[in-house]
Amino acid sequence: MHEMSITISMLELVREEMEKDGGGTLKSLKIKVGELTAVEPGALSFCFSSAIEGTPLEGARLYIEEIPLTGRCTDCAKEFHMEGFLVGCPTCDGPSIEKIAGDELEIVSMEVL
């Protein structure tokens, strides 16, 4: 369970960005969480609402876009969801897979009033 440390890092970044922008009230925060990260979106949402309670960020909403772990076969160029994290092309059985998405853990944007 390290979603609280992730939340704290996330809120630090949010405060920095808000300061740069000249203050205001945070309405919402949009983030991307890849399937390969060791981060559970439900736990992260829970930590987020607990961490902002009683702070100037209270009331802000967190939107999490979950990014599936996606690979591309270097033989047949098909893109596919790496189900169960298993490597291997479901179309041509090719062993050489390039990971193209799924390890994201980033803040996309913030809505400020």
Partner: protein, 218 residues
């Protein structure tokens, strides 16, 4: 209401400190590994047996990560190798900032060739935090399930090597080493796999050769 486009990694700060650690390690000329496993897979014993074998020929240092106590640091020191302990309190993983505090200590030990970092026993969270190491090594033991790579894929994905430990206990378990290898390679075909027993010494030679090979003194 307006939108601020951020586009920043949430662990940006950790990654920046990890990059500085990596530069410091490389400046010291050492190769570093980050050992990650569940509690009880035998990481500390593996380190003890490893430093007993190569500690004389290869200048190495050990960083121990645990929630509490300096017990593991003391165990490694008894093998004649410098060790330091990071106690994380309630945190379930080491992060780059904690490791950055050991750099002055490492500088004082120059010259060094190998740094072994033992992460907090946990298969999930440490996968997310880059410490600045050259290589992550996953450890699992035969008293766990051979399906562990499928259940905790992130760490097997992020590691370059896997040690399957306690192989001497295999006859007393349902653990199937071949199946464990297949499961690990299904998640990460590039994994270099070692089978070790810290009781009989089986496989430790290959593991130690691999480590010394990384430091360029095979």
């Amino acid at each position: 209401m307006h939108e601020i486009l951020v586009g920043a990694k949430i662990l940006k700060k950790n990654d920046e400190i990890a990059a500085a650690n990596r530069e410091a390690f490389s400046g010291l000329g050492l190769f570093s590994i980050n050992l990650i496993s569940s509690p009880g897979s035998g990481k500390t014993t593996l380190i003890e047996r490893t430093v007993e074998r190569i500690g004389k020929a290869c200048r190495l240092a050990v960083i121990e990560g645990d929630l509490q106590t300096e017990l593991d640091k003391e165990r490694v020191e008894r093998c004649g190798v410098p060790a330091t302990q990071i106690t994380t309190g309630r945190s379930c993983h080491l992060d780059a900032h904690m490791v950055s505090h050991t750099i002055e200590w490492l500088r004082g030990l120059k010259p060094l060739e190998l740094l072994i970092i033992e992460n907090v026993g946990n298969m999930v969270c440490p996968a997310e935090y880059d410490l600045g190491e050259d290589m992550k090594v996953a450890v699992m033991s035969v008293t766990e399930g051979d399906d562990k790579p499928l259940k905790y894929p992130a760490i097997f994905h992020a590691s370059s090597a896997l040690v399957i430990n306690k192989t001497d206990l295999t006859p007393y378990t349902d653990f199937n080493i071949e199946r464990a290898r297949e499961n690990a390679l299904a998640v990460n075909p590039a994994l270099k796999i070692f089978e070790t027993s810290c009781t009989t010494g089986e496989g430790l030679g290959d593991w130690c050769d691999f480590l010394t090979g990384q430091t360029g003194r095979a």
